[in-house]
Symmetry: C2
Subunit: 395 residues, 2 copies
């Protein structure tokens, strides 16, 4: 009795669910400490202490009607002002509350902006490897996702192919920086080249092409690398942000969209985004959590925790013979499968109680994603197993 569209979606989701079930089954059989689950991007780092303090402080001091009530669909005005000011300080931008819409995480924000922009059959370009949910988000509004194939040398953007794939139907381009699943940070050169191509294509086609920057991993950058802020490079940029990783609040569903004044059709886009937030059923981002994150704009997650994991896991896997680019952001390694069909590699890893996700879930078969947002202990304890796994392939 479920819809035709949902039948396919449920079938596709059963892989992830099966992996989740598998993890639980293995944990029951061998003990949780002997199962090495690298499949989920669920931070193992606690939210900074400021978050707890902020929530309790708000509850103690403010009127509950104000804390838990409806506000404008775009979010509390003072929250949006604080976030705009914080962005301006960081990026020398010039945002105000009018440029910020509070959302139910980045996933909520992406759905809102795609609802705003997409007519049926409009095209949205994504660069493989990309977060598989983009397919579903675009499909929610009957748009078409157009994948650009990966540059597997650097995992920067394949801009030559990108240029070929822009058509008069291209309404938006999504980039995810730092990238899930590769951990790569797109360089300023890459961003400048991307922006130039978009500018030229807009002129050539006489259309507006919106660049959607999906940035939940912005703060997770290592080696002192800078993640370029895209509104400064291309005026039709909309940023989707989430506190899921930066404040370790994935379950709270809190984030925002940045819609700069310079956007083509700015007034209609911001008005429509408020309406879309409402009618998609979000209504507004969770109210207490809006107030809390606004009080924590300067709080920081412990990047050194992830960095320690990155260094150990990366250097060990390379030592054992695996091939992987060294990521400078997010908390993923994207490892080349030693056999052509990476699903077989995933199955082989399960024999050692190691779980990770096939690259085909990210439109990039032949690779696997290893999420290292787990405890350092888990990584240390997994290494002998990874070594045994490697010995199956590299003599």
């Amino acid at each position: 009795m479920i819809s035709e569209k949902m039948k396919t979606l449920v079938a596709n989701s059963s892989v992830t669910r099966a992996m989740f079930e598998e993890g639980k089954k293995l944990a029951a059989k061998y003990g949780a400490e002997n199962v090495f689950d690298f499949s989920l991007g669920n931070p193992n780092v606690a939210a900074p202490a400021e978050v707890k303090e902020a929530i309790i402080n708000i509850l103690q001091k403010k009127d509950p009607v104000e804390i838990h009530g409806y506000m404008l669909n775009a979010g509390y005005m003072e929250v949006r002002e604080k976030i705009a000011a914080h962005l301006n300080k960081l990026h020398e931008t010039n945002f105000s509350s009018a440029n910020i819409l509070m959302t139910v995480g980045a996933a909520g924000g992406l759905n809102v902006i795609l609802k705003v922009l997409l007519n049926p059959d409009d095209e949205v370009i994504a660069f493989a490897p990309y977060f598989g949910e983009y397919n579903n988000y675009v499909s929610n509004f009957n748009g078409k996702i157009v994948a650009v194939s990966p540059d597997t040398d650097s995992f920067q953007l394949n801009l030559e192919e990108f240029k070929q794939k822009i058509t008069s139907k291209t309404k938006a381009v999504i980039i995810n920086n730092p990238n899930n699943p590769t951990g790569v940070v797109y360089s300023e050169d890459t961003i400048k080249n991307l922006s130039e191509i978009l500018e030229n294509k807009q002129k050539e086609l006489g259309t507006s092409i919106y660049l959607i920057a999906d940035e939940p991993y912005r703060e997770l950058a290592y080696d002192g690398i800078t993640v370029p802020y895209l509104t400064k490079y291309y005026k039709n940029t909309i940023v989707g942000y989430s506190y899921s990783k930066s404040l370790s609040l994935p379950g709270e569903r809190i984030g925002y969209l940045v819609m700069p004044n310079e956007l083509d059709d700015f007034e209609n886009i911001t008005a429509a985004a408020s309406v879309a937030n409402r009618i998609l059923g979000f209504v507004n981002a969770p109210s207490l959590m809006q107030l809390a994150v606004a009080d924590c704009v300067d709080a920081k997650t412990d990047v050194s925790y992830y960095n320690r994991n990155r260094e150990l896991l990366y250097s060990s896997l390379i030592e054992y013979g695996f091939k992987c680019i060294k990521p400078q952001g997010a908390f993923y390694l994207f490892v080349k499968s030693p056999v052509a069909d990476e699903k077989i590699f995933c199955e082989a890893a399960k024999q050692f109680n190691i779980l990770f996700v096939p690259g085909s879930a990210f439109a990039c078969p032949g690779y696997v994603r290893i999420a290292y947002c787990v405890s350092y202990e888990t990584i240390k304890n997994s290494l002998p197993k990874f070594k045994e796994l490697a010995q199956k392939y590299f003599k």
Copy 2:
């Protein structure tokens, strides 16, 4: 540059926005205490003290990784168990966690279940007057809303017309009990008759027709009246619930769907609902608030507060000559406009700084909705103005 669908939605939404702006303008001009804004269903009653205690207690005692992390898309298992047990106690049902999916408010829940059920052009029947957002929710999935005209004598369900409007394309029927905007509680007789019609039509057409019970106002019932629990009358019932009114948490976006075992295609529907929750961008209901409401299943909002407002406003308006059925639930009065075009009546009320919503927003022109979830003071102070307004029509 925004989509064609959004253009219409933004235009339609501008009425509500204009009213909101109007309210702010009037408040700036005459002082907030001299403006009587009855347009919004935003409770003026504080959340029960248990909510604050529960949140602080959770933050003090639990691991932040657990409080704020991802859980199953359907929600924390222990939260769903507690809610199922609570429902079983209240309604002598037999639910378990498998029947409960935590949602981003009732609006989130309705979007989830409509995404699960609707193929393009499937029909969803709603009984006028109904919450205008149902139009948008159904349109999100390219379904068609079919309105049954109101029974303006009793504002119970017009079941004769309902019977005629069920077709082989009817996938779902939404009822909202107690009703927004009338405040009417559908009686057990009405529900039994509705259920019988649905049973017969399912047999006749060989289809499954799902009854979606939208129940954010369940606890707001007066005069000791009972609001029937619909899963007990019709097996293809799905309940959408929200804590927005019962715990005064509208901004927190927390509610749930109940999907009983007896549903046709139960396994697929629950699996699809989890997937839909994720891909619509909700991912899961806000995590801390899930834990908090589970600790507050027995907390109660102050119904006597609303009842006092209801008694005063209802008796006064009747005394002044207005016509209105006495509501037994929710916090709305649905008053007959003394002129055929109720929008003119709304404009006339604005001259007295009184704001309420035209019935055409609820597919029932000729009436206006007055939300009395304001302070008792506001009601008391508005009465002389209502009296002056009445004198324009009733000599």
